[in-house]
């Protein structure tokens, strides 16, 4: 064995060991989701179930409002993602290209919304939604995602992107008689596709993961979204049915994980080229 292949073997050994804590929790979750509660406790180390048993998955849907919770998460994340993309691109283009009084001040306000923790603003927000009679509806969960830190990040990233597009493109289109809206819709948006993909991924993941707002606004099980729903598999004393929890967690994870694995090249490239790298 030459020194070169020895150091190569050492490199792979190090990488494999490093990868274990990153990969093990997810694999364990999927494996244990097919076991009974007793089997999970009996052999906490085991990765593979002795047999594939779908009983946990069936029970999650049969005895709990999990299907409704799943649907809630999907429709909320889709609305949040589309609205974030549209409003973020509009504002990003406005800040990058157009002149109007107060522009810089408004942009600084956006930046500060990106930096401040939205959870720390929750008390006045709650008072507002309570006065509007919107507690225990999805409206605050949706609106606070669109008009919060993620939305501001979208505006910032898309503005940075539009700044890199040569101005001559706008001017040529103006001469061709396209209005501002036409330029935005037909010229700028198609050019911004990589940045839009990155922003869309962030908006979707942040909405899918949102825990704080559902926790304070939603109080009936069938209106919950997944992050709250996953914590609902308990007995009356608060003991957790781990088999059901892990089956539900697997269902909440798999679509995102599969989408990532299938499109990971695209995923990684758009994230790193989106200007996030500073």
């Amino acid at each position: 064995m030459s020194l070169r292949s020895l150091s190569r073997a050492a490199y792979y050994a190090v990488m494999v060991v490093l990868a274990v804590p990153f990969v093990f929790p997810t694999l364990w979750m999927i494996g244990a989701s097919f076991k009974s509660n007793q089997a999970i406790f009996a052999e906490p180390l085991g990765l593979l179930p002795s047999r594939v048993d779908w009983a946990n998955y069936a029970q999650v849907f049969r005895d709990y409002p999990f299907a409704a919770q799943y649907l809630n998460s999907v429709y909320i994340a889709v609305i949040v993602t589309l609205a974030t993309l549209l409003l973020g691109a509009l504002a990003g283009y406005g800040f990058a290209r157009l002149n109007f009084p107060g522009r810089d001040l408004m942009f600084i306000a956006c930046l500060s919304a990106m930096m401040l923790p939205s959870e720390a603003v929750s008390i006045p927000q709650f008072a507002l939604f309570k006065a509007a009679g919107l507690v225990n509806t999805h409206a605050p969960v949706i609106l606070l995602q669109i008009f919060g830190g993620t939305g501001a990040l979208a505006v910032f990233l898309l503005r940075q992107h539009f700044l890199t597009v040569p101005r001559e493109l706008d001017e040529a289109a103006l001469i061709d008689g396209l209005g501002r809206w036409g330029i935005f819709w037909h010229v700028m948006l198609p050019l911004a596709r990589p940045a839009l993909v990155a922003v869309g991924i962030f908006a979707f993941l942040n909405s899918w993961n949102d825990y704080f707002n559902p926790l304070i606004y939603l109080n009936s099980g069938e209106r919950f979204t997944l992050p709250l729903g996953l914590q609902g598999f308990t007995d009356p004393l608060g003991g957790i049915f781990w088999n059901l929890t892990l089956a539900a967690s697997t269902l909440a994870t798999l679509p995102l994980l599969l989408a990532f694995l299938v499109a990971q090249r695209h995923f990684v490239e758009s994230l790193t080229s989106s200007g996030l790298k500073g």
Partner: protein, 304 residues
């Protein structure tokens, strides 16, 4: 003839530009800015005002002056939470940035399978926060969890990872870093790949060791990226709530200021007092951000 043709287009552009009213710009930013003003900027300004009220639901608010702040300064729970927040940020941020940089350096090589390792290390980022925290909660259970099970096999009786200080803090930090470090790792990897090869080669020819190349050449060149990542990671650490709350159930040993604010605001519905805690968080964050921008001038290298 030729002269007239080249002169015409700029005049058209100029007229078009002058014609464009500021309302066009407003129209583009208004949908987002209106929502942001009502739902975020307004509430931000309301927080310090609310902190001057005595407002416990369902009672109506009354003026309290600075009494909430006097109570804050004497509240042992809040003082402990401040200390725990400081420890949490001081533990999480260096671990996250250091590990992200180390992993990016390890992945910045030409070898078969590097892409696969990149995918594996990034994959926890797409696992839902609560699912990840629940798995860790099982793995770290004191009696039957995997970690204490393994420790038991080598004769160590493991601590109660979810409730005991400082182990609960360690558990939260490690699980959060493993979940999120992939994002910073990718950002650093992209920055490292942007460092021109010739710069490295020149340094090596000049007799620099690998360590010297890293500290004196590579790190300064990616320092703008490191700085921005540092700012974002610190803010993320200060506002962390879900992973801590799901993993430890809000137990005292890991109750950071965010958890304290949540308890006072939405368990005891003491809105005035919780706003006081929120305002303390704002001020800490503002000071940290300003401090970092000051430091930036000293150690961030910009190419001119």
């Amino acid at each position: 003839m030729l002269k007239a043709r080249t002169a015409a287009p700029p005049r058209v552009v100029k007229r078009r530009r002058g014609w464009e009213s500021p309302w066009v710009g407003f129209a583009f930013v208004a949908p987002f800015m209106l929502g942001l003003t009502v739902l975020f900027l307004g509430p931000v300004l309301a927080v310090p005002v609310l902190s001057l009220l005595n407002w416990v639901l369902p009672d109506a608010p009354t003026w309290a002056g600075f009494s909430n702040y006097a109570r804050l300064a004497r509240d042992p729970e809040v003082l402990r939470s401040t200390w725990i927040t400081a420890l949490f940020v001081a533990g999480l941020v260096p671990l996250n940035i250091g590990l992200a940089l180390g992993l990016a350096l390890l992945l910045n090589v030409k070898a078969r399978g590097v892409g696969l390792f990149r995918t594996l290390l990034f994959s926890p980022v797409v696992v839902p926060l609560v699912a990840w925290a629940l798995v860790w909660r099982f793995v770290l259970q004191p009696d039957f969890g995997l970690v204490n099970n393994l420790l038991g096999r080598i004769g160590i009786s493991g601590p109660n990872w979810l409730f005991e200080f400082p182990w609960a803090l360690v558990a939260v930090i490690v699980s959060m870093v493993i979940e999120h470090v992939g994002l910073n790792m990718l950002i650093f990897l992209a920055a490292l790949q942007g460092v021109p090869r010739e710069v490295h080669e020149a340094a090596v020819i000049d007799g620099a060791s690998r360590g010297q190349v890293f500290w004196k050449v590579t790190l300064p060149m990616i320092s703008p990226t490191v700085f921005l990542t540092l700012v974002v990671t610190i803010i993320g650490a200060l506002k962390a709530f879900a992973p801590i709350y799901v993993l430890t159930g809000g137990s005292d040993s890991a109750s950071v200021l965010m958890v304290q604010m949540f308890k006072n605001g939405f368990k005891y519905f003491d809105f005035g007092y919780a706003s006081g805690i929120a305002w303390v968080l704002f001020v800490v964050m503002l000071l940290l951000t300003v401090g970092q921008w000051q430091m930036r001038k000293r150690w961030v290298h910009y190419e001119s």
